[in-house]
């Protein structure tokens, strides 16, 4: 049962082979049994889940079910869920019961999904290993002394360990694609503006985007149908119609032009990872795709640019956490300044404080032009790189990460080394482009992911290209031992 995809579970539910309550209980049991070692969940919402499951079964009995009715799902603890603790992986929000639902949560609820719980994540989505969480690191289900990736580590690990058939995540610099790669599952970051950011606790507003984890591109397509869409409460939400993302999955790939950025396949890339990707590329050639080399000349600058823009925006976004209206408040504040300083210093972890300070610095008087403005100019150059590339190719292919998962604790004292693990994923956030990571093999018994990027609002094509690979390979069907 745990190996079934969302599509398969949907059929089983329709054929009444299992009820939603049974299915939900099944996964809740698995979470109870396996998650204490994995640490992928912060909150398991058992009552909430069973109520939703009952409702789903009732709907089905009335003949009002749709494809996702009764499907259990886990949500990254960055999405506000009405009446359920929403911590963002931080002590700052350890006591925060969200008083409303994020729009994407509402969309998925309305589609009939059943929330199993809220998953662990890097604090305020800042991290690439899920080691900055107040609630402890998430273990990689394939090898427990390795990181699961971040910031959506819990969402990725829970799906990889078969504790949930699918989950939501967010991606600001790679926080869906990278953990999907390290955990051996499929993870999609849609186009910026495709899914609503309302109720998604903000990290870097011009980069954040909600997305999905599942075992297959088909599952992601099913869920994206429900999750995506215009939201009038989000000024950056785009009013584009939502197509049926499953409709184009089976288009054949003959003549598809795939571009390989030469800057990505250089000395920094682990040899074995490079080889695994090459093997995957050959599958695409067999499917009729045409491979060509392209150039994204400003690639190397995407990391420093990101590490100016994201901290700048986050330093401002996190100013609201001050112990006044919600969240952590220090004990016995002596005066107003003490309230602010201690609540924030005690409530935030090290990485968050680091980024807030970088952000504060780059926006401060005298430095704005040299840092923030400069970064935004280079951002345009990076965008232009993609515009030029997509004149020649339909899809860009690359490794998702330069290496497989690293050991827990290996990079925590070297922030820059940690930041560089996002080198392949960051540019897509800067350009707002949709990107997906799918499993394509193993190195040292750890999963390797391959990334596909396409043009704005090209999710259907992306899912099609990913799906076709999954029809001729079975990396996506593999699961870690012990679960």
């Amino acid at each position: 049962m745990q190996h079934k995809t969302v599509a398969e579970l949907s059929r089983e539910l329709t054929e009444k082979k299992i009820s939603s309550v049974e299915l939900t209980q099944f996964f809740l049991e698995r979470i109870k049994h396996f998650d204490s070692t994995l640490n992928s969940f912060i909150t398991v919402s058992e009552d909430y889940a069973l109520t939703a499951a009952k409702d789903a079964d009732a709907k089905r009995a009335q003949g009002k079910a749709s494809p996702l009715t009764g499907i259990p799902i886990a949500h990254k603890d960055i999405f506000c869920t009405d009446g359920v603790k929403t911590t963002c992986g931080s002590k700052m929000l350890d006591n925060f019961i969200a008083p409303y639902n994020a729009t994407v949560i509402q969309n998925l609820n309305d589609a009939g999904t059943v929330m199993l719980g809220k998953t662990n994540m890097d604090e305020f989505a800042m991290g690439s290993s899920n080691e900055t969480s107040y609630y402890g690191p998430v273990k990689n289900p394939w090898q427990s002394d390795y990181v699961s990736g971040g910031s959506s580590g819990g969402s990725a690990a829970s799906v990889a360990a078969l504790l949930a058939p699918a989950s939501t995540g967010t991606d600001t610099g790679g926080s869906i694609r990278q953990p999907a790669a390290l955990c051996g599952i499929t993870g999609l970051k849609p186009t910026y503006g495709r899914a609503s950011r309302y109720g998604m606790i903000a990290f870097a507003s011009s980069l954040d985007q909600a997305g999905l984890f599942a075992h297959t591109a088909e599952d992601v397509a099913l869920l994206l149908n429900a999750m995506a869409g215009f939201d009038e409460k989000d000024s950056t939400s785009v009013n584009h119609p939502v197509p049926d993302y499953t409709a184009a999955l089976n288009n054949n790939l003959k003549g598809l032009r795939i571009g390989l950025p030469k800057e990505y396949f250089n000395a920094g890339l682990n040899n074995e990872v490079a080889q695994t990707i090459q093997t995957a590329i050959r599958e695409y050639e067999k499917l009729g795709a045409v491979i060509e080399e392209i150039s994204l000349p400003n690639t190397a600058l995407s990391v420093p640019v990101y590490y100016v823009i994201a901290p700048a925006e986050c330093s401002s976004n996190l100013a609201r956490y001050d112990g006044v209206r919600y969240g952590y408040r220090c004990v016995n504040p002596a005066d107003l300044q003490d309230l602010y300083e201690r609540s924030r210093s005690e409530g935030f972890g090290t990485e968050v404080k680091r980024r807030i300070m970088i952000g504060t610095y780059v926006l401060s008087a005298g430095y704005y032009d040299a840092y923030y403005l400069k970064a935004q100019k280079i951002r345009r150059l990076i965008c232009n790189d993609f515009v030029n590339a997509f004149k020649k190719v339909d899809v860009i292919l690359s490794p998702t990460t330069p290496t497989p998962a690293f050991k827990i604790g290996e990079k925590t004292s070297d922030p820059i080394s940690m930041y560089l693990s996002d080198i392949y994923t960051i540019a897509a956030n800067l350009a707002g482009l949709p990107g997906i990571s799918i499993p394509v093999g193993f190195v040292n018994q750890l999963p390797i992911g391959m990334q596909l990027i396409t043009n704005l609002f090209g999710e259907a094509k992306l899912l099609n290209v990913a799906h076709q690979y999954q029809t001729v390979t079975d990396w996506h069907k593999q699961s870690p031992r012990g679960f």
Binding site: F79, C80, T86, C88, L93, F96, A98, P99, Y100, A102, R197, Y198, G199, M200, I201, A202, A204, S205, S206, E232, K233, D234, S235, T236, A312, E313, S315, S316, L318, A319, R320, D322, V324, R325, Y326, L336, Y340, T360, L363, S364, A365, Y368, Y372
Partner: protein, 478 residues
């Protein structure tokens, strides 16, 4: 040493929309604390701003009324600082690209001259909440109802050279925003807040002196006093060899002095940057055109029209157009009076406004309607009553004793214009006062007033003055 005063003014006008600038919560004044602070106004995790169309329209109306450029593209920026009444830890404002650019207002000064005061810019921003300092066991209470209310910050060039000029500008601006119906201008409730930047410099110098900022003064009278005090203070400091510290000062109306606000620590670094949750505001020229077409007659236009149409002085016209309601009242009086424009102006300005001010009433609350006042004036014009008697009737109208003709009838106030009756009265007075008549005929011309007085006494003031004068003169001459 002759000193020149330099004043620049910043006005925060609360725009009279139903909802906040970035959320759909109500802006109604006087609600219970925090009952109009929605998730967005509270800055809850995950919330996002969406711009209110009416706010933009009102800003454009202002720009058009102030002869200003409307920016085709404007950008919202975050002004970052920490304060408990600022829920997000930043205020959404506009920095480098405001919605309204350079403009001007032509202000009528006391001496009937017009001075052009230039406006640097006007931008949109959200208001903060309020802190209540009444003790809650040593704590302050924060009410965020006001957080998110739309403000238009209107910045003038430092073009004013006296407190009087500053007040004239503020009154002109006040009238404009009320005419445009974008702001109710209620200074007590905080919907029209004025900050004055004041400095002095030696006359003839073209360099600006160090300025101080006067904040939180909520009446024109106090602003004038505060500016005057501050100018004197600065001159004294400079003349005794000191220097002006750039700071914010509060005005104490009881002591009539300005004081340093408790000095803050180092000046805030607001780290302005474009708000990534909002996109650039692009103004469609067609929309601006539509807004322009819907603009009401503005104070300046109305003032010019009153001068030419009603032959009024600039001074009188200026008073009458100071509010749309007053101007409308006046025009109704003119109509009801049978086009007695000058007389109507006198009565509205000298008589009505005086009593209204004394009783603290607004023109809309006037117990005397424009119809009634107009009627009264028409009765003066058609010689039914004298101007003096009219004042009595005015009082009666104020006390709601009835309509004009009713009162005239009931109290028998019709003035006597019958030549025969008047002549008879004069004859009686002449007969009764032989000595005065002789003295008058001998040359004491001043005694004319005595006879007029006698006639008025005898008649109960009801004689048509012109006729009385004519006939009296004739008869006295013998």
């Amino acid at each position: 040493m002759e000193w020149e005063t330099v004043i620049g003014l910043e006005v925060h006008a609360q725009l009279a929309t139903k909802t906040k600038i970035f959320s759909g919560a109500s802006t109604q004044f006087g609600a219970e604390p925090n009952t109009q602070a929605c998730a967005i106004d509270l800055g809850l995790p995950g919330v996002l701003p969406v711009l209110n169309k009416e706010v933009v329209e009102m800003a454009v109306k202002f720009g058009l009324g102030a002869n200003a450029e409307i920016a085709p593209k404007s950008v919202f920026a975050r002004k970052n600082y920490f304060y408990p009444d600022l829920p997000k830890g930043y205020q959404i404002s506009q920095y480098e690209l405001p919605i309204v650019g350079k403009g001007y207002l032509d202000v009528l000064l006391d001496n009937n001259e017009t001075k052009r005061i230039n406006i640097t810019r006007a931008h949109l921003e959200e208001d903060a909440g309020k802190s209540l300092h009444e003790d809650f066991h040593g704590l302050s209470g924060i009410d965020l109802n006001r957080a998110g209310t739309p403000l238009l910050e209107i910045v003038s060039e430092p073009d004013m050279r006296s407190a009087k000029e500053a007040i004239a500008y503020l009154k002109t601006l006040h009238a404009l925003v009320r005419y445009l119906e974008i702001c109710d201008g209620n200074m007590q409730e905080g919907s029209f807040r004025c900050d004055a930047n004041v400095s002095v410099r030696p006359k003839g110098s073209d360099k600006y002196g160090t300025r101080t900022e006067l904040k939180n003064i909520n009446s024109f009278r106090f602003i004038e006093r505060a500016i005057n005090y501050e100018v004197e203070r600065q001159i004294q400091v400079l003349e005794s060899g000191g220097s002006i510290k750039q700071e914010t000062r509060l005005y104490d109306p009881d002591k009539n002095e300005t004081r340093t606000m408790r000095s803050k620590e180092e000046a805030n670094d607001y780290r302005y940057f474009p708000d990534p949750d909002l996109l650039p505001l692009i103004m469609d020229t067609n929309w601006i055109k539509q807004i322009k077409e819907k603009l009401p007659e503005l104070p300046q236009q109305k003032r010019d029209r009153f001068i030419s149409q009603y032959q009024l002085s600039a001074y009188d016209a200026n008073i009458l157009v100071s509010s749309k309601e007053l101007a409308a009242y006046y025009e109704n009086v003119v109509k009801a009076s049978g086009e007695q424009a000058k007389l109507s102006a006198n009565w509205v300005i000298s008589e009505l406004l005086g009593v209204l001010n004394k009783s603290n009433l607004d023109i809309l609350e006037s117990p005397i309607t424009s119809q009634q006042l107009g009627k009264l004036i028409s009765r003066i014009a058609d010689d039914t009553i004298s101007g003096k008697i009219a004042k009595t009737i005015f009082e009666a109208l104020w006390n709601k004793e009835g309509e004009v003709d009713e009162i005239i009838e009931k109290r028998g106030l019709k003035q006597v214009s019958d030549t025969g009756a008047i002549e008879k009265m004069i004859d009686e007075i002449i007969a009764a006062n032989p000595q005065q008549v002789a003295d008058y005929r001998a040359g004491k011309e001043k005694l004319f007033g005595y006879f007029v007085g006698q006639a008025m006494k005898v008649s109960g003031g009801k004689l048509n003055p012109q006729q009385l004068n004519e006939l009296l003169k004739k008869k006295l001459q013998g």
